[in-house]
Symmetry: C2
Subunit: 337 residues, 2 copies
């Protein structure tokens, strides 16, 4: 069978132990390419997205979505081209993005599928800055963070898929954008390519001192992707009535036991901070608004987007996924199928 006639999928075989994902957690299953039923279409997947949230999806713990079932195809965002359709809204050749799963082909009823414009940006970009991470940055910063022009916005994991967009939107809205990232290369990228006002290397020097130097007027909005010590340090520099948009706590996702929470929670009280969690699905009805805004800024050259595109196909999935938790990726992590 040629690769076009075999359906390959990454299946969850067991709940992972705490820590990084071991290869035995997933297996690749092969079978015949499925045919769409009435009202369905089949998409040939070109790229799958690797997202920090995946580490939570494979756990059994309570979360905002049910865990991936043992034996099921791993949940994941993907982009591809429709190649067969019995759905009135989709035709062969359509470029689409959706929660298609980590596999070579997917059958879809079109629910939550977004048609993407490959004239505006290549397919893989619709998994990054123009896709879910971009929408997360857009609603998380603007709706939860509510930055006002002239305020200081701090973003952790600033070179990452979401963080890189958050800081650029903050700049577009007239704020001072300060990133936190690991290592000089990432920090240079955040300032020189993404145009943040400053970026603090949390692996060098003293984070509290360096952050204070980068935020002379304190911090009004924190877009939190990391948690742990980084959040603790930020908390101590928040201005009164500051907002903390909790988008991710990646420092905890692969910890082998629950790490301690922020010791400086008292700042929430004394500074009257608002700390609020966000899941992008809650703005689902407004995704077109985000797509339009992000697409426009990107077209105007005001929004730099970079993917970290990895080869190796589905077999490389577990290994590539772990890059997210070791800081090994550089921008939005995408796997070519």
């Amino acid at each position: 069978m040629s690769s076009g006639t075999v359906h390959r999928s990454v299946r969850l075989m067991r709940r992972p132990a705490p820590g990084l994902i071991t290869p035995d957690v997933f297996e690749i299953a092969e079978g015949p390419v499925p045919e769409p039923g009435e009202g369905e279409f089949r998409v040939r997947i070109a790229f799958v997205s690797l997202d920090p949230a995946m580490r939570g999806w494979v756990n059994e713990a309570r979360s905002y979505v049910p865990p991936v079932a043992i034996g099921a195809v791993m949940r994941g965002y993907a982009v591809g081209i429709v190649e067969a359709s019995r759905h009135p809204g989709f035709e062969p050749g359509d470029a689409v993005q959706g929660l298609f799963g980590v596999q070579s082909h997917a059958i879809s009823k079109g629910e939550r599928v977004v048609r993407v414009d490959t004239g505006l940006a290549p397919l893989e970009r619709w998994l990054g800055g123009l896709g879910m991470p971009g929408w997360t940055a857009y609603f998380g910063l603007l709706e939860v963070g509510q930055p006002k022009a002239g305020e200081t916005v701090v973003v952790s994991a600033a070179s990452g898929a979401v963080g890189s967009i958050v800081g650029q939107i903050a700049r577009i809205k007239g704020c001072r954008a300060v990133g936190i990232a690991g290592g000089p290369e990432k920090c240079r990228y955040v300032v020189e390519t993404l145009g943040f006002d400053a970026c603090v290397d949390h692996k060098a020097g003293d984070l509290a001192t360096d952050l204070k130097a980068a935020c002379p007027n304190g911090i009004d909005v924190n877009f939190e992707n990391v948690g742990g010590d980084v959040l603790d340090t930020v908390l101590m520099q928040m201005n009164p009535f500051g907002r903390i948009a909790v988008c991710g706590l990646i420092s905890a996702y692969t910890a082998t036991s629950l790490p301690p929470g922020p010791k400086n929670l008292r700042a929430v009280l004394t500074q009257r901070l608002r700390m609020q969690g966000l899941i992008v699905f809650d703005w689902e009805k407004r995704f077109p608004e985000a797509i339009a805004a992000l697409g426009q800024w990107h077209k105007e050259g005001r929004l730099a987007i970079r993917e970290d595109l990895r080869e190796g196909g589905l077999a490389a999935f577990p290994e590539v996924l772990n890059l997210l938790y070791t800081g090994g990726n550089h921008g939005k992590l995408v796997l070519r199928v």
Copy 2:
């Protein structure tokens, strides 16, 4: 000199070491009774309020108000009677509440002073349910917690000055009110006298199990006075889009090192919780609204208020203050001067 002609004040002599307050932190100073200048009045203080926040006010750490200076009169709310006035708005005989300090007499320009109605309730009650703790409960629950009828509201330190009012307002607004308190006597008081739907004893049984039994539909609003393990347990039972009003973190105030923060902070993300700190001063312009509402409910018999009135005068201040951090008080703690 008779007691009416000597001015006695509790002065802060040194920053306390972490933990409970030791007696040497304060000293009593004596001197002549001060005379009001032009635009000032003198109040003879009858009762001073003992509040959890006091432990923070004597530290040097960054907070929402500057620390009490070494040598200065200890900051504190008090009620008393105006006995001499050169202020056009206050006359001898007026009953007043204000941040008069822990002393026998105070000179005031009338700033932030509230005239109280001793026909509606005795003087000391205006330090409790009808005073600052009541206003804190009112704005914290209604403005930050935003409870809707039918929702479940959980209050820690439920028998305390603020918690006792929070649960009763929650009931008035049609919510299920569940308290958390230490010991069977406090829990009985919370249910039988204050009319909460349930109260969980955090010193008995398993808090998580008992809380789940008391909150079969999960928790929509948490009014947090304690922090630490109690907050951690509550976090795991919050419903999506729940609100956590952070009013106090008393479990941390006397800790000898910063205790760990909430391990279950991840719930803020997965459940899209809003956690927000509150300081009652932020609603200062709306205090009359709270006074009117609380006074009305109290008059109608829908709002039970109890003071834990202690004798011993100013000399007993350090010892009585520590009761707040050991759970030794029972209702709003007030010291007769």
